[in-house]
Amino acid sequence: MSLDKYINDYLDGNLTPEDDKRFRDLMSSDFSAKEEFASMLSIHSLLKSDAESISLPKELEEKVEERVLANFLQVVPVVEHRRMVRSRAIVSVLATIFFIFFVLNVIDDGTVTKSNIIFLSELNKQEQMLWNSYRIDANSDHRDNFASLPSPSDAPRRKNRSSTVVAVNQQQSPEVPQTNTVVSAEEQTINNTTNETTKVVSNPLNILSSDVLDFDYELRNPLPKTNLTNELRFNKWAVPFSNQIALAVPMFELQSDELLVSAFSSNAIVKFGMQDVQMKGFGSFSQSIGYKISEYERFGLEFGYSEFSWNENSVIVVPLSTVEAPRRTITTIKNSDVKWSNQILTNGEGSAEPAYVQFPIQLQRERQLYWGSLFYEYYYPVERYVSFAGRLNLGATNDGPFGAVRLYSEIEPIRGIALNVGIESRTLWARMPYYKKGAFKSSIGLIYGLSLKFNFE
């Protein structure tokens, strides 16, 4: 092994006991080697001495730590937990439940829930009228069909409702003749008819013909040979449909044949009543269900939420010691921590070594307001697939009243699916954490959304 290698290993502390002995022997016997070693050792010591003499400038140490910690505060969690996803989910679920409730009630031709039983007597009456008021062409070839015409009590396909109907009938009209009697009466009447074009064949409940006409249960065509009951109901389902609507919205007797489900997002451009803070955003998301109540009018419900975000200046206190100070991490700032951070904590009066350091920070705060409203909408088609609409919303938020006016265009590139773009002005009463009393806050902004149309014609 060369002298340099010995010296190098010695400086690194890597000499084995044998090599160490050989090295020491060499040093004692060879003067030049000893000088070489002394020279190298002095260089080594010089470097160690130089290393110890270098110290980090205090100002630089503080400045760099402050900057990096400030970045921690900026990046990690100073922004409050955003609830946008949750809010949208809540609004969507509410609208979906509402939608399912209505659509199932409207479209389903058989199920009437228990809650709607109070309307069954009226419904039953109408059905009975329907069965008692059809007119037939006495000269048609369908006479034979009436021999097997089912009675009102067992004909309807909607079994649940039919059974209830019968029960109500029997209670209200015990004098109603039995089914067999009705059938035989019909046969008899038909057989006795010769040159008359149209005739009421039976009227077991003795309902006046004027009542019958009021409900417009006129059969325009000869009765079909099969599925008579179903066909009859299907062609004349407007009355049951309107009753179903009446079940859900008892205030209005809607003659609706179109259901509109919409989702809107909006971003405020001009804001009013928010000058007291550094307001960053005022957006909203909503879903609505509307019913066509006339050729150009809709009426319905809209659920949504409005979201405010603003900047708030604060001071945060960061513990510097994990030993003396209570253990707190600045990565989990919550509202309570922010309040706590508004005061400067030290390790005690006159403590030479503060355990905390404070940073000025800017918090981005947010708040969501949920709202629900009724709306009236007037829309005017200008082209086959384009129409303009104006909507007036009146309702309430969880803080107070809410109102909105919306003007938007409805473009329907695909039948049943429409894109909406427009402007909206909204006003709502809100209580913000920075604002002790509630205040009206308004905005004018852009809206955009998507609508789905369901036609029942």
């Binding site: 400086l11 080594h44 010089l46 470097l47 130089d50 730590e65 990096v68 990690v76 253990r327």
Partner: protein, 188 residues
Amino acid sequence: MKFSEGRKYDDEKIAQATLELRRGSAEAFHILYNHYNQKVYRFCLRLLGDKEKAEDAFQETFMKVFENRMNFRGNNFAAWLFTIARHTCLNLIRTAKPFQDIETNSLSLSYVYKEDIGLRDFVQRAIMQLPISLREALILREYEDCNYEEIAKILGISLSLAKVRVHRARLLLKKLLEPIAKEYYESR
């Protein structure tokens, strides 16, 4: 703004802080910063040979530590930290103006010594005479007490090459510093 004096922490504390840094703990950063700031600054200063550049590199190194804290894998935080510091310093060297390097490198040690500069400056200038590859290996070994495995990892070279570089750097530095060192120790 006052900070507590830099503390040195035991290995367990450092290991714990290393884990917590990845989770975004500022407290963990504070511990690691206090533990390593001196070493990183020293490394930057001796590698760059310029105080202002060293301060820039030092700050940039810890900013990178913060930015890349999620990328840290393994348990050798020191090696990861010095790798970042080394890359930062090398970037600064690369972006430095060429004439400055020429001017610095052209200074002869004897001339400098005759100007009666301090010993630290003399050592600094001697180190700056070394090629960068030898300089960084020597600083890690002599100034930061890194073992050869750590040096190899930080420099991205093999263990044997790390040993060779440190050995060569010592020999070169001995040639440059021998007369000064001898005089320095004789005078003491």
